[in-house]
Amino acid sequence: MKVVTGVVGNDIHVVANRLIDLSLRARGYDVYNLGVNTHLQEFFDAVVETGAEVLMISSLNGEAEGWGREVRLLKSKYKSLDDVIMMIGGNLTVGSGNAEDIVARYKNYGFDIVCHQMDLNTGLDMLQDLLEARGLVSEEAIA
């Protein structure tokens, strides 16, 4: 199972990114880590290039709010991306916000899984659940 990951926009918070990399590998995923400061277009390019089934974006510095609304537009340019699981997590707003509102907003932007200020392992479990629900993996193994 191939995952493209990285930190979106002008955001340089790298610590979570390093841990995500480690954790995904530990769970058996094939990881393509674009690192911090990665623009939306670069994420999509990498998904196309690698044929990844999952795009997992991090945003910590609050700016995803600014980029989010461009996702649907960009995604619509690629027919082949309809089945890619789009996931975002980290700190998804500037200041403190209501988690429910935030999740709704990001789902509307086109994300399938939205993990605002959520523990990494909980988020990865949600991914596992969705993959299972879509019949993409069995309960036992990812790889």
Partner: protein, 454 residues
């Protein structure tokens, strides 16, 4: 016209900047109130200065924040810049400022100074008549610093290393050195007009398991690069590391060596201040706990004998703090400083000796680099990993040094990479840790050590 002035003219003739009047700015600085100069406050203070963080998109919000801070008895006001401006992406900053104003929703994580401009911003700053510190994280801060000083901001944080390695992935390091050389010279020149402009280095770096020897070396090098250009007031800094003892030792060594190296290059006349940052790493989401952490940091800063403390807020883990939360920390910190009495003097000679040897060995390696100027030596040493910053996102950084916490939560180096830690010190550092563990448990320990305050 000097070369520098030619460069300055080019810098300020940016499409996002209103006509820049250098003569008027010089006159403003010459006649500016002493109160605006933190260097003046350092000279006359009888207590640790307290400075919060904080930047909001709109002028009105920033003004309201300052009102709160003043009510909370602040000593130094912050101006934190948004991350688009930091990366010189003024177009996005402008767009997001407009969106923020229109939607009454913050789309920026700081104050877009370039977009607001110096004329507007100066109104605010002279209105409060308190020293303001510019916090940004910008590798190319030339325009930002021109605008800041023209606004009445007489302390400039950052430096070519400390604002690059933690804050950027791709920005060319050599360019950063040149851009900061410009900043130093502008600060040095303005310093002749009134009280000195204070420069401050950003010691926290990535705030994630950086060992004290790396922090100190980088502080000393940025200090030397600044003093070389004529800056007369400089603050070295570091952030709470997780062990009270290690903080005290770090403070002692940095003070001693800053003096030593400043004298070495004939700049013993410059004033060197010590700044302590309340915990800069991952914060607890429980706000009551965050308050405890903040208070503990204040106590340690006092034990360290810092000249200034930079505060966090109980909302750190959540997002940009409200002005209320930010002002609360200021008031709390002032209260703690007032009730904290009978401080003991603490010395750990062995630890100081080891840390001093480590720092001096790395400094020597830098000085021994064959390049012709100090900045080129430093550049080479970062590239070759003689200086290596854990968890830096920057591509030039080696990322070969591995650190972990010992039982007392001191940060210890267990893999030195290319950093010339003397063997004796290296053995000492490793001896404090349990290295018999397998790689997986060491990785788990590192994850745990990052989240130590959570």
């Amino acid at each position: 016209m000097s070369l520098l002035q030619e460069e300055r003219d080019i810098i300020v003739s940016n499409e996002f900047v209103d006509a820049f009047d250098f003569a008027e700015v010089a006159e403003f600085v010459t006649n500016a109130s002493k109160e605006l100069f933190i260097s003046h406050h350092f000279k006359n203070k009888d207590k640790m200065l307290v400075q919060p963080r904080g930047g909001f998109p709109t002028y009105q919000q920033q003004f309201a924040l300052y009102e709160y801070f003043v009510k909370a008895n602040v000593d130094v006001l912050p101006l934190t810049i948004d991350s688009n401006t930091r990366l010189n992406d003024y177009a996005t900053a402008q767009k997001m400022l407009r969106l923020s104003e229109e939607n009454d929703k913050d789309m920026l994580n700081g104050y877009p100074l370039i977009i607001h401009g110096y004329r507007t911003t100066r109104n605010m700053i002279t209105n409060f008549d308190k020293p303001v510190s510019l916090r940004h994280g910008t590798p190319d801060a030339r325009l930002l610093v021109e605008t800041a000083i023209a606004s009445g901001i007489f302390e400039i944080e950052g430096g070519p290393i400390t604002y690059l390695l933690p804050y950027s992935k791709n920005f060319p390091l050599d360019k950063a050195f040149l851009y900061w050389k410009y900043v130093e010279r502008v600060c040095a020149n303005y310093s002749e007009l009134n009280e000195p402009i204070n420069r401050e280095s950003f010691g926290p770096l990535t705030a994630t398991l950086v060992p004290p020897c790396i922090t100190i070396v980088i502080q000393l090098l940025e200090m030397l690069l600044s003093l070389e250009e004529g800056v007369k007031s400089f603050s070295v800094s570091f952030a709470q590391q997780g062990s009270m003892m290690q903080d005290i030792v770090t403070g002692a060594v940095i003070k001693k060596l800053a003096k030593h190296y400043a004298e070495e290059i004939g700049c013993g006349d410059a004033t060197i201040n010590l700044v302590y940052h309340q915990w800069m790493g991952a914060f607890p989401t429980n706000m009551d706990y965050a308050d405890q952490l903040i208070n503990l940091a204040t106590v340690i800063a006092s034990m360290v004998g810092a000249d200034k403390i930079i505060t966090k807020t109980r909302q750190e883990a959540t997002g940009i703090p409200t002005k209320e939360a930010n002002a609360k920390t200021v008031a709390d910190t002032q209260y703690t400083l007032r009730i904290l009495n009978g401080l003991p003097t603490v010395v750990d000679e062995e630890e100081e000796e080891i840390l001093t040897q480590e720092v001096m060995a790395i400094m020597e390696a830098v000085f021994n680099d064959p390049a012709d100027t100090l900045w080129r030596k430093v550049f080479n040493c970062i590239k070759s990993g003689v200086i290596d910053v854990p968890f830096s996102p920057h591509i030039i950084n080696q990322n070969e040094m591995i650190t972990i916490r010992d039982a007392q939560k001191n940060i210890r180096i267990i893999e030195r990479g290319n950093v010339p830690i003397p063997d004796k010190c290296y053995e000492y550092e490793r001896a404090q840790c349990d290295l018999t563990k397998d790689t997986t448990s060491i990785v788990n320990d590192i994850i745990h050590d990052i989240g130590i305050m959570q």
